[in-house]
């Protein structure tokens, strides 16, 4: 599904070139559940952003579903966001002025889904995450875990093939984290959704079936646990 070849991401500062990512080669198949780990500043989020078309690599090639991504324009990228990719962020990034219902509904608005259909899709999602009672609340009226559930629901409503999660449990305590991870695992197993998450926690990483270790912008270990 995802093929990265020799990806470089760097920032030029005066005479020096600072590499955030250097020479990344990565293959991810459909249905994978991957955890990206590594110390702060290793380039985890940047890698995730590149995979999610939010950031562009300076060098190298990226194929998504065998399409070259490096040639896409902004509008085409938006099309991919609408149809294939869902994002979950550490800080949830819900829109404060919209209710739970409206936050979940928003991706459907951009996909121009009809009103009645939209209603049933959002209702399904609320049901699935057990937040029907909260649908008219605003994000600041929810706990962190509940907000993240809404964030996941929003990512899922477009039935994406790929979910990118940047430290989804970074702001949550362990019970809430487990709930989110269980949800991811279920999605991965039952619906075959590909999941890539960035995490610091070994425990959270263990929900996935493959771990990629990053250090100083390079992949140091590809799936270290499998060997054990």
């Amino acid at each position: 599904m995802i093929k990265l070849r020799n990806i470089d991401r760097y920032i030029d500062k005066r005479l020096q070139r600072n590499f955030i990512l250097k020479g990344i080669d990565l293959d991810i198949a459909e249905g994978d559940f991957i955890s990206i780990m590594g110390p702060s500043g290793a380039g985890k989020s940047t890698l995730l952003n590149i995979i999610g078309f939010l950031d562009d690599a300076n060098e190298g090639e990226y194929y998504f579903l065998d399409e070259p991504v490096h040639g896409l324009n902004e509008k085409q990228k938006s099309e991919y966001h609408r149809s294939y990719i869902g994002f979950v962020f550490q800080a949830y990034h819900l829109i404060d002025e919209l209710t739970v219902y409206e936050n979940i509904e928003m991706p459907l608005l951009y996909r121009k889904v009809k009103g009645s259909q939209r209603k049933s899709m959002v209702a399904d999602m609320l049901d699935r995450f057990n937040i029907v009672a909260k649908k008219d609340l605003f994000p600041n009226q929810l706990s962190g875990g509940q907000q993240q559930l809404v964030g996941v629901a929003r990512a899922l409503i477009g039935s994406p093939k790929l979910i990118l999660a940047d430290e989804p449990t970074g702001n949550l305590h362990s019970d809430q984290s487990k709930e989110i991870m269980e949800t991811f695992k279920k999605l991965n197993k039952e619906d075959g959704v590909t999941i890539i998450q960035v995490t610091h926690s070994d425990e959270m990483a263990s929900y996935g079936d493959r771990i990629i270790n990053l250090q100083d912008g390079a992949v140091t270990e590809n799936n270290p646990y499998e060997e054990e």
Partner: protein, 820 residues
């Protein structure tokens, strides 16, 4: 989707109430001001358009030119109208003449009821009046009411004034004790938006009764007391007619036996709708306006709207951080940049829509006050014209686009990867742009303040300037063509019998006022054939005493010299220059030739020289002047158009009561009226005064809007620097340090604004002041005004910023640091 946008927009407005208030209030005030100005300008532009045939209506005006003098008159000779009708039947449908006996005040009396009033809007008009102008009759038929001599049509209002509830038609109104007019019709009120006011009209044929002694009165082609209006045939171009007018000039004007040698005449046509704004000739019916002030007002309206829009831009971009996450998330969820742009533009439309509704409420609330300020009754009815509401919507869209497009472009440009990381997106570019906008706003505000100060200063200067005569204790009585003039010496004697009256004199024109006349007066020195015109006026004895004029040589008129009326003349210092004399005493005995209307020539010699005084208004330079005495016989007594009475300082009431008593004894026909000379002279500067009030009001509004914006920005910058302030305070910074930190940037911008505004206003002020021959010393006063305005705006800005700066500085540093 649309619903979603509206929801977000409204929730955002409600969430940041202070910002929303500043934004909406600023825009509302800006829109309201612009609408008021627009209303006024449209009103001024629509003068005389109420005539259904206005595009075919023209006034004939004439220019008489000699080698030394050009006289442009709004009036023409008696017979021009009928002659044009006869000469160009294919081009002219009808003509209408207006004549007011060259008087501005006409006494009418209802003998039955014993009531009499003075009227200024009375004209003799041709019977074609009602078929040319759009005037409506409540009583009487348009074709009949002006048919017969002695017919009079009056306005509804006057009907009530003279006849109460009675039906006026068929009743008699006496005119000046000379003619009995029969009322034949009642008119609806004449619209305000006209260059003329009409309350009473009499049939032109009635003039034969008035000039019964001289049936040749209308044969004179040199005497031009008539306003002539033409209704052209449909499809006729005014220039076609103008091109053929030279034949009329040749066959009638130059052919006239009394035509002066060397004098040229040229006739031209003015569209009736242009008169109010573009005509400033001698003998205008009313004082007209000028389009220059309209353009200035439109520019000011534009300024204010721009300042309000800048507030909107600044606050929206400054607060972009709050919206940036939403932008990022929407993009991640598949929103195109275009869609986000539309969303933000939509929000600005929404705000503008709210602002225009509030703005309209403000307009309705302030309309009466604004009307009073500009001296016009203005009204706004949203449904009076089909284009008003679409026009307002168009304005909303325009302002929305103008104010909203930059923030929309800026906000929609955020990249998710930047904003979702949580790091602040304070684009340096947007901050610089914001600074430029703030500078621009304050530059405009300063330009307006300085402009106001300059106008105010000039008016003050004019009003305090020594005119060379004493205007403070003089009372004016209108005595043109009335019994007081005929019995002037009796009147004078009786008035002087009261101790509070110091002096009294008769005048042909009001000293210091705008309207002065040129006469055919020639110094003997320059030879007899010289046909030069000089300022001249007529007076009775005691002119010098009444106005405290200064005699620099010779003597004033005196009753001891019986020949003074026939043979003596006073001149001013300016005339010395013209006579090429250095010493005032040398001028004594110089001879001037006067050419009275009835023909012949009179030689008068100089008996005294007066120091220059501002005989005409301060809008004109002092010119060479001759003053001669009114001769004591009836036609000459007509020169006493005004009587000036000097009252002893103190309580003028008793003196006025005495004058009134004497007036009633001498003149039982005309009601007693008076005006203080200084009040009369102040009227000359009405336009400038209105401009000064308006510019004061607008600069206050301008500063208010700009300060609102500054308030918003200061609050935002305090918020942004909350953490920095906390750290600085914990490191020992004082409150003053913090206020300085927050104000420094803004005050620098305002200082720059001052530096831009000063040279700009210097040029504008200099240009404007060139209209005045007498103006305050700009090299000295302007820098004071500049620095004063600069300090003033700095103080306002500092006060605005300090509110938030102090608030931020007084916060406990621990709270601020912990919050972050």
């Amino acid at each position: 989707m649309f619903k979603n946008y509206i929801k977000i927009a409204i929730r955002n407005l409600l969430k940041n109430k202070a910002y929303s208030l500043i934004n909406i209030l600023g825009l509302s005030i800006g829109l309201a001001t612009s609408l008021l100005i627009l209303l006024y300008v449209v009103n001024e532009w629509s003068y005389d358009l109420f005539h259904s045939k206005s595009e075919r209506l023209f006034r004939v005006v004439q220019t008489m030119e000699s080698e030394t003098n050009v006289e442009e008159d709004a009036t023409t000779p008696f017979l021009l109208g009928p002659v044009l009708d006869a000469e160009f039947p294919d081009l002219i449908e009808k003509s209408v003449r207006f004549y007011n006996l060259q008087e501005n005040s006409h006494t009418f009396r209802n003998k039955q009821k014993g009531v009499s009033f003075k009227e200024s809007n009375f004209y003799f008009v041709d019977s074609t009046f009602f078929s040319v102008f759009s005037a409506e009759l409540l009583r009487g038929s348009p074709t009949e009411v002006l048919k017969n001599p002695g017919s009079l049509v009056i306005s509804e209002e006057l009907s009530e004034k003279y006849f109460g509830n009675e039906d006026p038609v068929g009743k008699i109104l006496n005119y000046k004790g000379v003619i009995d007019f029969t009322v034949t019709g009642v008119m609806k009120p004449w619209p305000d938006r006209s260059h003329m006011e009409v309350d009473l009209i009499a049939s032109f044929s009635s003039l034969n009764q008035i000039y019964s002694a001289d049936q040749e009165y209308d044969q004179n082609w040199l005497w031009n007391p008539i306003w002539t209006y033409l209704l052209l045939e449909e499809g006729i171009d005014a220039t076609d007619l103008e091109a053929q007018l030279s034949a009329v000039e040749e066959n009638y004007f130059y052919a006239y036996s009394g035509w002066p040698v060397g004098e040229t005449i040229s006739l031209s046509l003015q569209p009736i709708s242009d008169i109010h704004l573009y005509s400033d000739l001698n003998q205008e019916m009313e004082v007209n306006s000028s389009d220059l002030y309209l353009y200035i007002l439109l520019v000011v309206a534009g300024f204010i709207l721009i300042i309000a829009c800048i507030n909107f831009m600044n606050l929206s971009t400054a607060r972009s951080l709050e919206r940036s996450r939403e932008v990022g998330m929407r993009k991640v969820l598949g929103g195109y940049r275009k869609q986000l742009f539309y969303q933000f533009i939509g929000e600005s439309f929404l705000i503008c829509l709210i602002a225009i509704v509030i703005g309209l409420l403000l307009v309705f609330a302030s309309l009466p006050y604004f009307g009073e300020m500009v001296g016009i009754e203005l009204s706004l009815n949203l449904f009076s014209h089909f284009a008003i509401i679409p026009g307002l919507l168009l304005l909303t869209v325009f302002v929305g686009l103008f104010a909203g497009s930059y923030p929309a472009i800026y906000l929609s440009s955020f990249e998710p990867v930047d904003v979702l990381k949580g790091s602040a997106v304070q684009g340096k570019k947007s901050a610089l742009f914001r600074k430029m906008l703030v500078t621009f706003q304050f530059t405009l505000s300063i330009v307006l303040i300085i402009g106001t100060a300059v106008i105010y200063k000039q008016i003050q200067f004019i009003q305090n300037k020594d005119l060379g005569f004493d205007e403070s204790s003089v009372v004016l009585l209108p005595t043109k063509q009335n019994l007081v003039a005929w019995e002037f010496e009796t009147f004078k004697e009786k008035v002087l019998s009261f101790s509070q009256i110091e002096s009294i004199t008769g005048l042909s024109k009001i000293i210091g006022s705008e309207k002065q006349e040129n006469y055919h007066v020639v110094p003997e020195k320059f030879g007899e054939s010289n046909d030069e015109l000089n300022l001249a006026f007529h007076t009775t004895h005691d002119l010098v005493e009444t106005f405290d004029l200064k005699l620099i040589a010779g003597r004033s008129f005196s009753k001891d010299f019986a020949t003074d009326a026939e043979q003596a003349v006073l001149i001013n210092r300016k005339m010395l220059e013209k006579l090429e004399l250095n010493n005032p005493d040398e001028a004594l005995g110089e001879v001037f030739y006067f050419y009275p209307k009835d023909g012949g020539r009179k030689a008068k010699s100089v008996i005294g020289v007066l120091e220059d005084f501002n005989y005409a208004s301060l809008k004109k330079e002092i010119e060479p002047l001759t003053i001669s005495l009114v001769e004591g016989t009836i036609p000459f007594l007509g020169y006493i158009e005004h009587t000036a009475v000097e009252i002893a300082p103190g309580n003028p009431k008793e003196a006025l009561a005495h004058i009134e008593k004497v007036w009633k004894e001498v003149n039982p026909i005309d009601p007693f009226e008076f005006q203080f000379l200084d009040d009369r002279l102040a009227q000359i500067y009405e336009t400038e005064k209105t401009m000064s009030t308006l510019s004061l009001a607008f600069s206050i509004l301008c500063i208010l809007i700009a300060s609102l914006g500054l308030l918003g920005l200061a609050s935002y910058s305090a918020q942004l620097k909350e953490k920095e302030i906390g750290i600085r305070k914990s490191l020992g910074a004082s409150v003053t340090d913090i206020v300085k930190l927050l104000s420094k940037d803004f005050l620098t911008l305002i200082a720059i604004a001052n530096l831009i505004a000063w040279p700009l206003t210097y040029i504008i002020a200099q240009n404007w002041l060139e209209n005045f021959p007498y103006r305050f010393d700009i090299t000295f006063t302007l820098p004071i005004i500049f620095i004063g305005s600069g300090i003033f705006i700095m103080i306002i800005a500092l006060a605005t910023i300090s509110y938030h700066a102090l608030k931020a500085a007084l916060v406990n540093p621990v709270d601020a640091i912990q919050n972050n």
